[in-house]
Structure formats: structure tokens, C-alpha cells
């Protein structure tokens, strides 16, 4: 009997509590499970070859013991935790991994992972830093190489038709996720922040078709649900570096706030833009992963090669989607979250606060260190922030 007997949010909870269980089951059925770190590995290419993309996460509840020997304490604690789990064998069911230059430490983690953890297949994508056309073209070339290694690994042809089909499946997932987020617009929202992160994390643990079925079930359940989240006095948006555990969101929602929107990579970032269907599917994929995904790891100008600059115009071009979210989801305040030692988000914080201030949106900045014990002290700050919004 498989774990697929439960449906909707109950099924989500089940996957969230033990992500590897379903993956191991699929592996026993002959599926290749490929791990990926961060959201820049192009998972459509794995799906197209009938492999299961399985996102690698850390565990804030697990002390880091093994990774200390090969990745210093002054780097991203999420990546250290992920590597730690890898070194402890928690990802031994993976057939291989695809990693990328999502950020500098993610890049280095990929190399260390490859050095210390045996895998049948690995690929590293050196994602460029700018969104220029030359960078898009370059990324497309890297994806051509990715395609070649996947074909060699699986012994199968990765045709454009297969790729287009996979893109459509993932676009369907993106559309369904956006429908879920629409249900966070009412007051109270029909799905809580905790339920949302659990749902997204589950989607990143199962084949895309299975994820789409889960989403359809959840949507049906939410539209008829009797036990919707309680209405709170404040509606919040969460921005920042990775959050792959519901604990922080529980703290927010246990206070007098509904978390109704986010801009994180276990949230809207991988889902809020579709991959364009282009004659050469790699072109659409390169564009999506480089241009569409709004992570501060990528350098953007308000216009290509601009020779004059206005700070507020620059901020607007980089962050106006956030004020759009705040307007559309009727947000009262924004929690800015950057993990300690996350440079790409850390540098962004004063600018993003300038932008939010200019729009009259209040914000608070949190810098936890990816441990469960560090979350306690945040509770007081979050509660105080909520009070200031009331």
C-alpha cells in the first residue's frame, strides 16, 4: 500500500513529516530520484526524462555535527545543515544531484558535496550573474551540456517534445500554486502560512504529476473548508532567504497575525512566473531561470546599460512586485528575513527598507541562524512588530 491513500492537506502533512518516505518508495519502483539544491537547477529537464526532482533541504532541529569538518561556521547555516544531512547519509536514496551557482556558498557546497558524498550522477550549472541577453544565451549553452549528460546517464533521448511536455506539467503546477495563493487573499485567508509552506515543501518532494494531483485536491478541500484559519488583526508578508521549516511561521501565526503572502524560495519565487513555451525549449527555460526568478543573487538594472541612475527608480524596478503583493494581498506589514551569513539577502535589506518606507509599508528585519533555539527570542520581536501595526 502506498502513502497516497490520504488526500489534500492530510496528505501534505504526511509528506512534510517524512519527505524521503515517498521518494524511497518511488525509487523501489524503479524511479531515479535526483536531488537539487536551491531553485536554479532546471528541474523540467529531470521530469522530461521521467526522473523525480527532489529538493534538498536542511533541518533546523538537527544539530550540525559532520559538516563542521568541511564547511566553516561563517557560511550559510541552511547550506551547512543540508550538507550535514548529506554527510550523515540522509540523502543516500538520491541517484545523483544537480546543483548550481545560485549563490557563492551554494556553489562551494556543490563541490564539497561531490568531494565527500558518492553519487552516480552530478551536474553543476554555473548560472550567470546578470540578466543580459548574452547571459541568457550562455545559460542556454550550459543547459545544452546538462541535456547531454542527462542523456548519457539515462540512455534516453531528451527531445524538445519531451521537454515541452515537462514544461507544460510544471507550468500547470505553477498555475495551481498561484490559485492556492489567491485563496490567501480573503480575510481570513482560506489557507494558513504554515499549511502553505508545508504544501510547497511537499510539492518539492514528489513527481510533478503527483504534486499537481495534491494541489487539485487541496484546492477542492480549501474551497469547501469549514476549519479555515482564524481571522487575526494583522496581515503579513514574509520576504527573504530560505525558510524550509514551519516553525518560524507558526510563531508569526500564533501571534495576532495571518501570514498571507511571501517572497521566498519555498513560496512564490519558483511559481509566480510560467516558463514561456519557445520553439527551442531551452531558450524559454534559460529566460525563466535567469530573468523571471526574482532572487537577489542576480544583478538587475532598471534598464540595460543605463548611463544615469536614480536610486528610487532603481528600487522601484527591483522591488515594485513586493508593493504589488502588499496591495493585492492587503498586507499591513512585511517581515524581512535573512539567514545569518546570507550575503545576497543581507546586502539587500537597507535598500528594500528604503523602498518599503517610501511606500509607507512598515517592516521588521530578522536575522536568525537556522536553529530552532534561535527562534524563541524572535517571538517577542514579532509580537512587538505586530503591536506597532495594530
Amino acid at each position: 500500500m502506498t502513502e497516497k491513500t490520504k488526500k489534500g492537506l492530510a496528505r501534505v502533512e504526511e509528506i512534510y513529516e517524512d519527505r524521503s518516505k515517498r521518494a524511497i518508495e518511488l525509487k523501489e519502483q524503479g524511479k531515479k530520484i535526483i536531488g537539487y539544491l536551491c531553485i536554479y537547477p532546471v528541474i523540467e529537464m529531470l521530469t522530461a526524462l521521467d526522473m523525480v526532482p527532489f529538493r534538498i533541504f536542511g533541518d533546523i532541529k538537527e544539530p550540525i555535527t559532520k559538516a563542521d569538518a568541511c564547511l566553516p561556521t561563517v557560511v550559510c547555516p541552511f547550506l551547512r545543515s543540508s550538507l550535514d544531512l548529506g554527510l550523515k547519509g540522509r540523502y543516500n536514496f538520491l541517484e545523483g544531484t544537480v546543483m548550481s551557482h545560485a549563490c557563492e556558498v551554494c556553489e562551494k557546497t556543490a563541490h564539497i558535496w561531490k568531494t565527500y558524498i558518492e553519487q552516480k550522477y552530478t551536474f553543476f550549472i554555473d548560472v550567470p550573474h546578470t540578466v543580459h541577453e548574452a547571459a541568457q544565451e550562455h545559460l542556454k549553452g550550459l543547459l545544452e551540456d546538462f541535456r547531454k549528460t542527462l542523456e548519457a546517464f539515462t540512455g534516453k533521448d531528451l527531445s524538445n517534445d519531451k521537454l515541452t511536455k515537462a514544461i507544460k506539467l510544471h507550468n500547470e503546477q505553477r498555475k495551481l500554486v498561484r490559485e492556492i495563493y489567491e485563496l490567501r487573499k480573503p480575510n481570513p485567508p482560506l489557507i494558513s502560512g504554515v499549511e502553505t509552506i508545508k504544501l510547497i515543501k511537499s510539492l518539492m518532494s514528489v513527481p510533478v504529476e503527483e504534486g499537481n494531483d495534491i494541489l487539485k485536491d487541496v484546492l477542492a478541500e480549501l474551497k469547501n473548508r469549514k476549519n479555515a484559519p482564524q481571522k487575526k488583526s494583522i496581515r503579513l508578508l514574509l520576504w527573504g532567504s530560505i525558510i524550509d521549516d514551519a516553525s518560524l511561521i507558526e510563531i508569526i501565526e500564533n501571534a495576532d497575525a495571518n501570514l498571507v503572502m511571501d517572497d521566498t524560495c519555498v513560496g512564490t519565487r519558483p511559481y509566480f512566473d510560467d516558463v514561456k513555451l519557445t520553439a527551442d525549449p531551452l531558450e524559454g527555460l534559460a529566460y525563466h531561470y535567469l530573468v523571471d526568478i526574482k532572487c537577489p543573487r542576480t544583478f538587475r538594472e532598471s534598464e540595460y546599460g543605463e548611463t544615469s541612475k536614480n536610486y528610487m527608480k532603481d528600487l522601484s524596478s527591483r522591488f515594485s512586485y513586493l508593493s504589488d503583493y502588499a496591495r493585492d494581498w492587503k498586507v499591513d506589514g512585511i517581515i524581512l528575513h535573512s539567514l545569518r551569513f546570507c550575503d545576497i539577502h543581507g546586502y539587500e535589506v537597507p535598500a528594500i527598507r528604503d523602498f518599503l518606507d517610501s511606500k509607507g509599508i512598515k517592516s521588521i528585519y530578522l536575522e536568525p541562524d537556522y536553529t530552532e533555539s534561535a527562534l524563541g527570542p524572535l517571538r517577542t520581536r514579532i509580537e512587538a512588530f505586530i503591536e506597532t501595526l495594530g
Binding site: A69, V105, K108, H111, A134, D145, E301, G305, A351
Partner: protein, 445 residues
Amino acid sequence: MADEKKKKAISRPKAMYPLRARIDEVYQNSIKAVQAGKPTGWCMVNWWEADPIIMAMGIEAVYPENYGAVCAAKGVAQKYLERSDSEGFPSHMCGYARNTIGYTARMNDLGRIPEEAPMGGMPKPLFLLGSGALCDTRFKWFQALGRYLDVPMWTVEMPQPGVREEMMPGAHDRNIKFMVKELRGFIGFLERLFGKKLDWAKLEEISNDIIEMNRIWHETNELRKARPSPMHSRDFWTCMTGCLYPAGDLKVLIKLYNDLYIELKERVDKKIGAIENEKYRMTFAELPPWHSLNIFDTLAERGWNFVVESWAYHPPKPIDLSKVSDPLERIARFTYQWLSGYYQNAMKAKEWWGFFAYPYMDFVKDYQCDGALLHPLITCRTATNHLYLIQDRLMQTMKVPSMIAEGDIVDLKLFDAVDVLRRAETFEESMDHYKEIRRKEGFEW
């Protein structure tokens, strides 16, 4: 005699002094030129990818990274670091970046260069040049300066080829093509910004001079493989600036680097070392504590000669670029060689971290090092990520031990020199032990 001046433990090459003076002079001239109205840009060190273009356009380049080291060495960085913290930037970020952010915020308040700024300070730029090389900070930091400087910014791309994927057929040429395209974009940006055309003949001459200067600097460092080694890391760090931040009349710099080469060659021939009693040959990684460089003098008194260091600041291994007619392609290939030339053996050895970590394995073998002093920086991921891996690989493959001393390039509060010196004594026992192990296992040193 009690009043006799104590002899310095590190014998510094005489040719280093005019080279250092020239570097300082060029810097001062650059400041004066900018103050007199010459266009200027603040640039990340870009490993010669953009420098020749900037120079050929007649723009003065100012390097805030280098200025961060200057502020640290002159003891004024702390003020700027604290200002950066108060601006809301996390305190764990790059010391150079925080120094620049604090400096710029203060310059903004005053409407002029702060009076305490060493070496005349950094004048306000007309553009910012970020770089995709090595770390995210190199463009995020400049982007963050937008709070204080309403000037445009360009980021030069640099693929990071130290992995197996970049050795796939066609990957090398694709990377070069990408870099060239981006350089053409950068030229267009500068031409629009300054309303003038690039002098291609000048670009040709400058890029060739840079290549030649680096060739001599490379050959100079090759001489350090000799026993005893004729130049200490302190002099490497002093002299590297001319190559890393090329400025002024490059032909003068070439002559000065050549003088240094000649002096070191003579030292090698006469078996004169940088320190009198070279007991331990050392490698250093990555960036040194600029505020506490005198610790190396104390270690030299114990017989520690630092013979090789910081691969990222070494010049590329020379390659023949004479048949490359397009100067932009020549520049791209030269810079790419810097990133890729040190790990050509890495893949054969199945060392998957081709750049950053691997060069030290070659260095330790080629320079016959007894130990490594590794300096993790609390505020720099780039200089720190790979150090534990280096420690492991050096021991596993060559039985060379490493000592880790945490610190920072700018923030002196984060470095404990006394502790390092205390641990050095014990570490010598470890180096002696492994020297014996290497001898038994048939290593050459």
C-alpha cells in the same frame, strides 16, 4: 649592545621599495587627476577583464577593495565599519564592503572627502564596476552603494570554470564568447556614458603590457620555489598591487617588476633567503590580517618563511595569446586562464573543487611547503569556504599539516595575534612530525 637596532627577520628585496613607491605615487596621481576633473570609476578588482578598457578610455579606476586594506592598515577602518553597521547592513558582511559603505555614507553627509581618509580618500565616481568573479559581494556591495551614489553600475561577467562541467567539449570557447560579448556591452556602456569612442590601438597596447607585466610577475614568483626562498609573502602582498590594480604608465611598472625579478634571481643564485634561517616553508591562505602584518615578522624570527600564498592574487600561468587578433578575446582568454590555469591537473586527480582549493595542492608540492597557515575570515565567505577542504586535502594527499587562525582583513577586533603565536609553537612540533612522515613515505621534501 642594548641600543643596537634589532635586525629585521624578513629581508625585503631592495627592488620592492621603488615598486611600492610607484604604486603609491600612481594612486596619489590618480586622486589628483580625478580631483582635477578626470572621469573616474570605482571598480572591483576584475583580474584584468575590464581594466584595459577603462584605461584605454582614459578613465581613472579607483579600487575600494584595495582602499579597504589601506584603511585597515592605517587604522581608520573601524570608524567606517561602525557607520556601515548603523546604516543597517549586517555586521557579518565583507569588511572591505562595510568599510566602503561607511566611508561613502560619511562622504555623503559631509559633501566632501572625509578629513581622516588615508591617502587622499576616494573621490566620488561617475560609475561603479561590479564583477561576477568569485563572490556575490563583488556586485551586491556596489549595488548597495546606490543608497549614497546616484551613479550607474555595470557588472562584468566571469564564468567560474573550476569544475568538470566546464571541461566539456566547447565549454571553454563558449565561456570566452560570453565574456567577449559582455565586454562589448561594457564598451558600449562606457562610450555612451562618456560620449567618446574607445581607442582600440591604445587598448591593444595596454592589454599587451598587462599580459607582459603578469608574465614577469609570474616568473618572479616561480623563483620562490628555490631553497631558501628569496621572497616572503609580505613582499608578495606589497608587490601584487601593481599587477592587480594596473594604473599609470605600465611600461614603468614592467621595468620595476623586472628589476625585482633580477634581484630575486641573484638571491637565488647566491642562495640568499628572505629569512636567515628558513626552518619551515609555509603557504598562507587566503587574505592576510592587514592590520596585523607584523605577526609575520615574529613568525619569521622562528624560522617560518612564507613562500607562497593566496592563489587568487597570483598572476595567470602564462599562455601564448599572440595569435589571438581580437584584443577583447585576448583579454577574455587571459582572465579565463587566471581562473582555469591552476587546475588543469585537478580533474585528473579527481579533485572536484578545481579552483580555490586545488591550487594549494600544486603550490604545496611545487614550493615544498611544511605547513599551511589558514586564515578564515569571519566576514568573507569567499576566502573561507574552502579552507577546511584544503586542510583535509593537504593532509590526505601530502601529509602537510595546517593551522587555522580565525580573523578578519579589516576588523582587527576579530584577530587574536597572541593566540596565533602561542599555537605556532605547538604547530612546529606537528610540522616536524609530518616532515618525518613524508620522508618515510618517499615525498620529495
